[in-house]
């Protein structure tokens, strides 16, 4: 016998209870999603949304376990290597005795080189200290999804980590800090489709934007098809994004394809092994000189390029002072990004620069 319901509304809800709850659950989430899309808290991070609390809870819940797993892994690795070392210590001892004899001979030769190396190392340390201040961090987790390529580090705002700080390894860049919690931080990797890094081709000095793809690859975009490129060319950070210091390794070109938009579609192999990250460095401070090198040059070049295109009175050769040649020569290493910006279709400035450096043309392969 079917149950009797007091009113038609009550009956409707009783009959369609499952569907009503489903609709309500979806409605609440859709409204929440729409609120995040429409009203981002931080304009620099439109994806960050306003629902920070749930993220903090989840990260706070999981990160202690992730830290414990990483620490346990290190302990087990150390324990195992210690055990293996102990077993082979006798054999090792005999071999070391032999090596010791040889090393004593080599030591005399190396002493001379060592003093020079110490001096160079001291210089390098000095430079690194004043260019970047970094914080070493351990990778403790990931998003675990293919659609959002992020990492979690065991350093947070208490360690001085803030959003938009660069995360690097000695091999190359990894990504940038997207969220900083108290003891943990989230890193948006360069393989994520929403990431963007200012890139610079090492030999041709062309500027582009390094972006992640939906499949987790890294690509370099906005290099015009009239430029000459070759596989294997290295890509560095340009410093133009004001996040990554200039000159860090991004990757090498592994595939060159022509898009329909007049730009190349370049696939990169990341310099850092992004699939096996354990320790990284967070760049907490960058010297201003490092970042502003490019931005200071650009307006000057743009003005000069514009001046070149304006009609000028032709001077007789003897009246042209030779001093004019000097500033023109200075513009030879001008970055093509400014050229792309100033003249995205014509490319005449590119030809001008190439004319000033014929040896550069000979080195480049035929497209």
């Amino acid at each position: 016998m079917p149950p009797e319901y007091g009113s038609s509304a009550e009956g409707f809800f009783a009959r369609h209870r499952n569907s009503v709850v489903l609709a309500a659950a979806l409605f609440v989430q859709i409204v929440g999603l729409a609120a995040q899309v429409k009203a981002p808290v931080d304009p620099r991070h439109p994806e960050s949304g306003s629902a920070r609390l749930l993220r903090v809870w989840t990260v706070s819940l999981l990160s202690p376990f992730e830290r414990a797993m990483v620490s346990t892994g290190h302990w087990l690795r150390g324990f195992w290597s210690g055990y293996v070392d102990l077993r082979s210590v006798r054999e090792e001892n005999r071999r070391l005795h032999e090596e010791n004899q040889q090393l004593k001979i080599q030591q005399a030769l190396w002493n001379q080189d060592a003093s020079q190396a110490h001096r160079l190392q001291a210089l390098l340390d000095f430079k690194q200290h004043f260019i970047h201040q970094t914080v070493a961090a351990q990778v403790i987790g990931s998003s675990g999804t293919e659609t959002s390529r992020v990492l979690y580090l065991d350093r947070g705002s208490r360690d001085g980590v803030k959003p938009d700080m660069a995360v690097i390894t000695p091999d190359g860049i990894v990504g940038k800090v997207s969220r900083a919690f108290a003891n943990t931080s989230q890193v948006l990797m360069i393989t994520d489709s929403t990431s963007g890094v200012g890139g610079l081709l090492e030999s041709s000095r062309l500027h582009g934007i390094v972006r992640g793809t939906a499949r987790g690859d890294v690509s370099l975009r906005y290099i015009m098809q009239e430029e000459t490129l070759q596989k294997g060319e290295r890509v560095l950070t340009s410093g133009g994004d004001r996040i990554f210091p200039k000159g860090l390794q991004v990757g090498t070109i592994t595939d060159i394809a022509r898009g329909g938009d007049g730009f190349y579609s370049l696939t990169l192999s990341p310099a850092a092994n992004l699939n096996r990250l354990e320790e990284v460095l967070i760049v907490t401070q960058i010297a201003n000189d490092n970042l502003t090198a490019d931005t200071n040059e650009a307006p000057e070049r743009a003005a000069e390029m514009l001046a070149k295109r304006l009609p000028t009175v032709r001077k007789s050769p003897e009246s042209e002072p030779k001093a004019v040649a000097a500033p023109l020569e200075k513009k030879k290493p001008a970055t093509p990004a400014a050229r792309n910006l100033a003249e995205p279709k014509g490319g005449s400035t590119q030809q001008q620069v190439k004319q000033t450096s014929p040896e550069k043309i000979e080195e480049q392969p035929v497209r």
């Binding site: 989840t58 987790g141 675990g144 979690y152 929403t194």
Partner: protein, 172 residues
């Protein structure tokens, strides 16, 4: 492989110890977040999805199923860089559909579990991309061959995982 359509009374309805009901989804999310650091290919699996399907099917209650999916999905969202709700919505749909399916067909044998997990992986993928592109205006591309491969891989993992999780079931 037998997919028999029978009445609800012929199927067992299971319940779970509250500790299991909370710990297993959290463990799935934790493993999903940690293991890809060591095994990068593990990203193609979606343990939280499989756990959602398992609980939804075992309980055979659409409301519990969709709420389980919603909570697991939102927790998964909170570990990503994207908007909260993308996985929440897609797993809500999956949780509801899986528990509704569990009422109608036998989902206890490995064959049906393979098909079910494969199918729901694709359902989740499609819903996720529809919401991400339609609502969040995210620039995502659905790589269908990759999605199909991942779906089948998740199907096979489901056979193993579900047989392990069967030990946590209690008859209602």
């Amino acid at each position: 492989m037998a997919l028999s359509i029978t009445s609800r009374d012929q199927f067992e309805v299971y319940r779970f110890n509250p500790v299991v009901a909370i710990a297993v989804p959290l463990l799935a999310i934790f493993v999903q977040a940690y293991l890809p650091l060591k095994l990068s290919f593990f990203n193609i699996f979606d343990l939280p999805l499989l756990v959602t399907i398992f609980f939804a099917v075992a309980r055979r209650n659409p409301i519990t199923g969709l709420l389980t999916g919603m909570i697991i999905g939102l927790l998964q969202d909170s570990l990503t860089h994207s908007f909260l709700g993308l996985y929440g919505i897609s797993k809500t749909v999956v949780g509801f559909a899986a528990s509704s399916l569990g009422v109608k067909i036998d989902v206890e044998n490995p064959g049906s579990r393979l098909l079910m997990a494969t199918g729901f992986y694709l359902v989740q993928k499609v819903v996720y991309y529809m919401v991400a592109r339609g609502m969040a205006r995210m620039d995502l591309q659905l790589d269908l061959p990759h999605a199909l491969g991942a779906a089948v891989a998740n199907g096979f993992l489901a056979i193993v995982l579900f047989s392990l999780l069967d030990k946590t079931k209690q008859r209602s």
